[in-house]
């Protein structure tokens, strides 16, 4: 690395730190709004949890070997993973492209994606802090069975950031479809539905039919939901844990490459109106 590259890397690092920090400060001003949002988000896993707990209880305490306590652990950890993998939405891309908001971002000597990644990363500590009391309530209400090893905790910590990057890239590619057509909401909804079913967001993938499970194995979705959750909840071997992290790295590389590729063609189609 020569001096110029090192300087560029250092200023990029500075940018990330500063952007993350300003986002933390600005988000802390809207605590009530964030709480509204958090409670709305928590409703989803609570519904899934209640449904599966009901079924498990009807069948003597477990569905396919997953006990009520394990379901509770799965969906409570789910809430943290979900907080982590919320990224700039494709609808945001739609708005940004349709309204010409991208123009300003394009004028900066920095890829707009850096701004998204840094800003949302800065938002994470705020939501996690506000999430803690909610997690406490869920813990008392649903009695999870959760006993992770130190290694699992470390892998989990890395995996939630991997999940964050994978989902950022996927959602960016999805959002960039707006460069070609502005009627994108149906496409977004379809992609989100597929993700819901094949990521472990709806149910632990073990409960899906076999063909769906094998389909999920070749798609990136489970690496931003199922794997991070299971890293903490399930009894994965060291090999499985590290292999999982490896798969995450692979998907990050593939999806980042794809994002860059799409971006190169997409941005040429951008014609700003207004602003």
């Amino acid at each position: 690395m020569n001096g110029r590259q090192a300087g560029a890397a250092r200023s990029l690092f500075d940018f990330y730190v500063t952007r993350g920090r300003t986002r933390i400060q600005s988000e802390f001003q809207y605590r009530v709004a964030t709480y509204f949002w958090l409670v709305g988000m928590i409703a989803e896993p609570v519904v899934y949890l209640v449904v599966w707990t009901t079924i498990a209880k009807q069948q003597g305490g477990a569905v396919q070997g997953i006990t009520t306590g394990e379901f509770a652990a799965y969906y409570i950890v789910w809430t943290l993973v979900r907080n982590m993998n919320i990224v700039f939405t494709p609808y945001g891309w739609e708005w940004r492209i349709r309204e010409g908001e991208l123009s300003a971002a394009l004028l900066r000597p920095l890829h707009p994606l850096h701004d998204d990644v840094a800003a949302f990363a800065g938002w994470k500590p705020v939501v996690i802090l506000l999430w803690l009391p909610i997690a406490g309530v869920l813990w008392f209400a649903f009695h999870p069975t959760l006993a992770p090893t130190p290694l699992e905790v470390v892998v989990f910590f890395l995996a939630i950031w991997g999940a964050y990057l994978i989902r950022t890239m996927f959602m960016s590619i999805l959002g960039m479809i707006t460069f070609w057509t502005t009627r994108v909401s149906a496409i977004f909804e379809l992609a989100l539905a597929v993700e819901l079913l094949l990521s472990g967001r709806l149910v632990p993938l073990k409960l899906m039919p076999d063909w769906a499970e094998s389909l999920a194995a070749v798609l990136p979705f489970q690496w931003s939901f199922y794997f991070p959750i299971q890293a903490l909840v399930a009894d994965y071997s060291t090999g499985e844990l590290l292999g999982g992290l490896g798969m995450q790295v692979l998907w990050i590389v593939v999806l980042t490459g794809l994002t860059m590729f799409v971006w190169r063609f997409a941005v040429r189609r951008y014609s700003a109106v207004g602003n």
Partner: protein, 261 residues
């Protein structure tokens, strides 16, 4: 009566506006197909592991899900756009334009916006309800259907009141736009009969966010689970909430200080 005429006028205006963008109809159709498809797949996954969920068969749950989609269409077409606009206008100080008109302010802010293409969800939701009913073992009589529609209207009014209450909060807390996310999240609980939830959550989605009255009660009507106490409670709660909403709106309005856009 005058209120209904006003609502009808805005409805016609909104329809003419939306009819200019016919392609949006097909986008909405696709979106509706995706959400119905997802709901059915979720149901299949659940019922591949069990025969009945707390006494509700698969067909009966289809009725509940169809109800949730149907009412969601009503909310997204007629209630949510108005409330969203209200919250934005409170923030920008543009609410002056509505308040200075010689009409009842609550009526006016409730009928200004309508997105007719979103009514596609009403049709697809109704289709799911119909499909669910056709799979029921017991025949559904005309009395059940009548009761279903009556409870549906009561439920929709209850949901409307809830939305006005939440949107009015914007007079105190400007950053209330997240309440839309809050509502959408909590609304998803309506996909399942409230009886499966633990008691604290059941009370929450019955009285705090009145989803039980809006979705489960009409679904219970058509699956013959409804008793007179529940009907009376739904009516009483709806009426009380309506009166409270009226008072709350005027109470909040006093806080409004227009920035005159």
């Amino acid at each position: 009566m005058r209120s209904f005429r006003l609502a009808w006028l805005f409805f016609k205006l909104g329809s003419m506006n939306e009819l200019q963008y016919r392609a949006n109809f097909f986008v909405q159709l696709l979106q509706s197909a995706v959400s119905v498809g997802t709901a059915i797949v979720v149901l299949k996954v659940v019922y591949s592991h069990t025969q009945a969920l707390n006494g509700w068969s698969e067909s009966e749950l289809l009725v509940v899900m169809g109800m949730q989609i149907l009412l969601g269409g009503v909310i997204k077409a007629a209630i949510q756009p108005n409330m969203q606009r209200l919250m934005e206008e409170v923030q920008d100080g543009k609410l002056d334009f509505a308040l200075t008109k010689p009409e009842d302010s609550q009526v006016l802010i409730s009928v200004r916006d309508v997105r007719i293409w979103r009514l596609v969800d009403v049709v697809s939701g109704a289709a799911v309800v119909g499909y669910g009913i056709s799979g029921l073992e017991r025949a559904v009589g005309p009395a059940d259907v009548l009761l279903f529609f009556v409870m549906l209207v009561v439920g929709a009014i209850t949901i409307y009141c809830f939305w006005v209450i939440i949107a009015t909060v914007a007079f105190w807390i400007v950053a209330a736009w997240n309440s839309i996310e809050l509502f959408e999240g909590v609304y998803a609980t309506g996909r399942w009969p409230v009886s499966i939830y633990p008691i604290w959550l059941r009370l929450g989605v019955t009285f705090l966010v009145p989803i039980a009255f809006a979705i489960t009660v009409p679904a219970e009507a058509v699956t013959s689970r409804l008793d007179w106490q529940t009907i009376a409670l739904a009516f009483a709660f709806g009426a009380a909430l309506f009166a409270f909403t009226r008072w709350w709106w005027h109470f909040g309005l006093r806080r409004y200080s227009g920035a005159s856009a």
